[in-house]
């Protein structure tokens, strides 16, 4: 039986380090609150489900700066939304590739939203909240 918790942590570390020049410092307890930028993707094929990410706008701006090689105060709302959507997309692809490397999957375009609390992640089977240098990132995963 695959350890989904461990897989999610491993994938988050890998993606954040290699594409966002960031890193996971540890895990945080408790539900994330406050204003957050979120992205959710669904997947279908060999398995079906969804993956969501959520972070404070300031964290997304810093992650986007790392991703784009820009100054964080130069990151626009459009860029921040694109980056949080891409983060969800890449995390989902990486999780599915490790869960079932020989499977077939289709991942939906990300739905990006600005809301109170980690709405994109709430209700998902597996939820993790990672402490980053830039703030916190909540990740949720449901595999049906």
């Amino acid at each position: 039986m695959t350890d989904l918790n461990g897989l999610l942590t491993q994938v988050a570390e890998d993606v954040l380090e290699n594409m966002f020049f960031s890193g996971v410092m540890g895990e945080m307890e408790g539900e994330a609150g406050g204003e957050r930028l979120s992205a959710r993707v669904t997947f279908s094929g060999s398995s079906a489900g969804e993956l969501g990410v959520s972070a404070p706008p300031s964290t997304v701006a810093l992650l986007a700066a790392g991703f784009l090689g820009a100054e964080d105060d130069n990151v626009t709302e459009v860029q921040a939304r694109a980056v949080v959507g891409e983060l969800a997309n890449v995390l989902c692809g990486a999780v599915l590739g490790r869960l079932n490397p020989t499977g077939h999957f289709a991942i939906s375009p990300p739905e990006v939203s600005h809301a109170e609390g980690a709405s994109a992640v709430r209700g998902m089977e597996l939820q993790r909240r990672f402490e980053l240098m830039e703030g916190d990132l909540a990740v949720g995963l449901t595999v049906h």
């Binding site: 290699n18 991703f67 784009l68 860029q79 891409e86 020989t102």
Partner: protein, 127 residues
């Protein structure tokens, strides 16, 4: 030096790919951008491009359809295409390689290995 066309509907991703290529030290003579397969084909018909780096899921004409059109066009079939995707499954990679992609790179990727892939596809060192 090579002229590169980066095809992705996400502008942030186009910038990041260009940035990663730059970090790797790979020298580009020109770097063109297209937001989907249709735009890419139009650019290819009007500019000399040595290598295409393309996403798969895009509106209007996706990466797979663009690859099919390039393969069947005598003017474009010789331009190598490297597909870049978040889809880490072997089945997707195999399908695109069978359609004519010269390499399939899964995100996230690091500058040096990416550069090595590009040089392997182009058949030489570019720095």
């Amino acid at each position: 030096m090579a002229s590169i066309l980066i095809v992705d509907d996400c502008s942030a991703m186009r910038s990041v790919i260009k940035r990663i290529i730059g970090i790797s030290g790979f020298e580009m003579e020109n770097c063109f951008f297209a937001s989907d397969g249709e735009e890419a084909l139009s650019l290819l018909r009007n500019h000399r491009v040595d290598l295409v780096i393309s996403d798969i899921n895009m509106p209007r004409l996706d990466g797979e359809a663009m690859l099919r059109k390039m393969s069947s066009d005598p003017a474009l079939c010789g331009v190598p295409v490297v597909m870049v995707s978040s889809d880490a499954t072997q089945s997707r990679a195999n399908r695109l390689l069978e359609l004519g992609a010269k390499a399939y790179v899964v995100k996230p990727f690091q500058p040096q290995p990416f550069r090595e892939q590009l040089e392997k596809v182009l058949g030489g060192v570019h720095d």
